[in-house]
Subunit: 500 residues, 2 copies
Amino acid sequence: MSAAIRAARTLRPAMAASATRPFTTAGAVRLASVKPFHKDEPAGPILKTSSFPGPEATRYAKELNEVFETRSLNMVADYTKSAGNYIADPDGNMLLDVYAQIASIPVGYNNPILRKIAETPEMVDAIINRPALGNFPSHTWASILKTGILKYAPKGLDNVYTAMAGSDSNEIAYKAAFMYRRQMERGGPEVDFTPEEIESAMRNEAPGSPKLSILSFKGGFHGRLFGSLSTTRSKPIHKLDIPAFDWPQATFPQLKYPLEQHAEENAKAEQASIDEVEHLIKTWRVPPAAVIVEPVQSEGGDNHASPSFYQKLRAVTRKHNVLLIADEVQTGLGATGKFWAHEHWNLQDPPDMVTFSKKAQTAGYYFRNIDMRPNKPYRQFNTWMGDPAKALLFRGICGEIERLDLVNNTAKVGDYLFGKLEGLAQKYPDHFQNLRGKGRGTFIAFDHPKRDEFLVKAKSFGINIGGSGASAVRLRPMLIFQQHHADILLEALEKLVKTL
Amino acid sequence: MSAAIRAARTLRPAMAASATRPFTTAGAVRLASVKPFHKDEPAGPILKTSSFPGPEATRYAKELNEVFETRSLNMVADYTKSAGNYIADPDGNMLLDVYAQIASIPVGYNNPILRKIAETPEMVDAIINRPALGNFPSHTWASILKTGILKYAPKGLDNVYTAMAGSDSNEIAYKAAFMYRRQMERGGPEVDFTPEEIESAMRNEAPGSPKLSILSFKGGFHGRLFGSLSTTRSKPIHKLDIPAFDWPQATFPQLKYPLEQHAEENAKAEQASIDEVEHLIKTWRVPPAAVIVEPVQSEGGDNHASPSFYQKLRAVTRKHNVLLIADEVQTGLGATGKFWAHEHWNLQDPPDMVTFSKKAQTAGYYFRNIDMRPNKPYRQFNTWMGDPAKALLFRGICGEIERLDLVNNTAKVGDYLFGKLEGLAQKYPDHFQNLRGKGRGTFIAFDHPKRDEFLVKAKSFGINIGGSGASAVRLRPMLIFQQHHADILLEALEKLVKTL
């Protein structure tokens, strides 16, 4: 039996009151006055079993444990029955999902428009004839890019290399940064490699394999492959036993909440962080070619910083000819109330690169300057270089975002939700600590002293919810999360904290 | 205008004789007596334009160059018109494709069975509801694994972690090797991390981020992310300007051909390589936790070694408690005449891990020992951990391989092709140098002094063919490549070399 199953079995049964019948009527009543984006989703959570996991989920988990990693299992899902904001399990439970596959489902389970796209001949063709995009792109690839990935490019960054997921997107952005840096040092794109560089690179030694670094922030998460993991500074369990590069980390400002009451000390913390970045750029034994930063440190515990911080970060990287990479793997595609979260920074001088994945289903990095493209072919290359099938899906997702005006929806619903959570925080200050994410759409989090228990118990109140960092409860609803979903969530959270 | 387009435009026009009409009748005649696996493919190459790229392909390439990397462009393809072994372009040319998306298309373009699978509700569900597999697997995931990825697992390796592509598959295998090594050093899975390890890992320093390495071979290719690239030793262009780990490389035996005439010196070269591996394991300043090796060094130039070499490699790694990883990203799924190429090694003691991707469309690593699973959850984890949609495709591909007996087909057709190529090598010794891959299915290569010109010109003879290493022409046909395709290829190659 897996640890996850054992752990799950020690759960106390859910409150009888919330089991075996639709969880709440409040949501359903309000629903009548609001048109849901997803017409087939239930009016509220449906709880069929008196505890989680139910008997069918337990059976499936046991079967899965024989063949796959289940120690990180949260729940066995039945996606055929999931709908919109609701994730189903094999016992017939349907939970309001404000975790959404670690922030990766943008427009709802079984979205009917995405279903149609998945059934098109174009998608079928992309699935069964997957090309090596760098060598043998389809004649339709330019059009797919122009009507999709590039149409939604961040302002000022109209070039892209496509990839597979968040980790490799960051790593190929790092590679671009190193190549760009060495090209500058070498004297431009026309200057060729020296024989010594060519020979030493094959031995993994300088100057061919240069001693250069990527600077990241404490609490940052940028992936789990060897380069990306060297910049990840979230939790030891991510990093232990894995060799890493000798790359520097700066302190991320630890803001105090509510922000209005701690303006001065927060500004000091941000300035101290910027000063540390500049110090590390100037003095670290392995010079940084780029700084990578998240608009909100997500895995690290939903740590925010102000637009002023990011403006200063842009200025200090520009000053020292160090590239700035915005890691929008988790923040991109609307959840913060802007399509790209770094739009909140109000930069005149945009980041040099923006990486994306998760809600995009595809991945890659946008970049601002064609000169940042490596000077020769086959330097930024691999067999697949992305996946047209996922690029088609991205286009469909963005079409839904536009059609339903989901970025504005998320901004508005986020404001509503945040306001109500402020009310709960006043009422239950121990249960909603350091509430954060104001003005950042539904990208909201708070700390709870019994966070892990909070997350597990939430299922019995009809909610699937995730955590981040040491003590944060993080909200990552989909973009189709509406005011009536917020009401259901708020009602469940209040009931839940009363039991903790 | 991109370099690729410029380069392509300097091509001389193809021979008039081979243009504007079906390339050959020989293949078509033979075809009558052989049932093709793919019934809709043409009887032979179709050449519509007098040079490559034709006007339509040139137009599409120009459009693409505005939005995507085209300097590595080989040809713009039209996958809607491609069929079986033939890749189409927008000008109506259809080339016999013995490169197959860098060895990644197993059962033909527009395979009708894969098309049906792509249209199933199960596939549509997998595409539009992509789960975070480590947290929220579908109730069908165990069944998909058992009837697919695990059903075709290498003998003795019945566990798997799934991934996205070749590079990350190798990197998560490396992570497993490092975690396993440190666990052994620590005294077993029950022994917890020390506070010093936990604290130093967050600083990328030992002991938490240990000074351990992966040993690879000169000429090896294992991917292009930071860990995998540190083991890749194929070409400088893959590695220049990218920081790398201080990991060791051993010389891969440079066999001389024909093998029968150089048995003694080849055996010596293999023993010298094994001795070097042992020396590096014992003395390298960053101790190896694993050795990674390809059954055939593919990107590095199709370099082979004997089963005896691999048996010795297994013995020396076993002797020193170092794990052995077989990188079957390019060799897996039948092309060498065995489902997994390392079956040719006849090991009693299988490799500890086998990585796979490309023809599998999905990716990951198989491992032999459940004790090699990390001792805690979230150590081998990421958001997606693979992709059920690609796992369904893998299952369909393997179903086709079984139904059509394609591994045996490839073994037989490979023997036939190799025999005929031996004849050509005798007739044109300057054009088919170091012919290799005997008894390895269609995984065949030879060197040509004007290799790059050879590859470009091949299109005008109706063939799409790739290279590897400095001078190799490598054959990577699909598994549905039959004897009549071999005849068409042989006829084209003979005509081609006469012009060089």
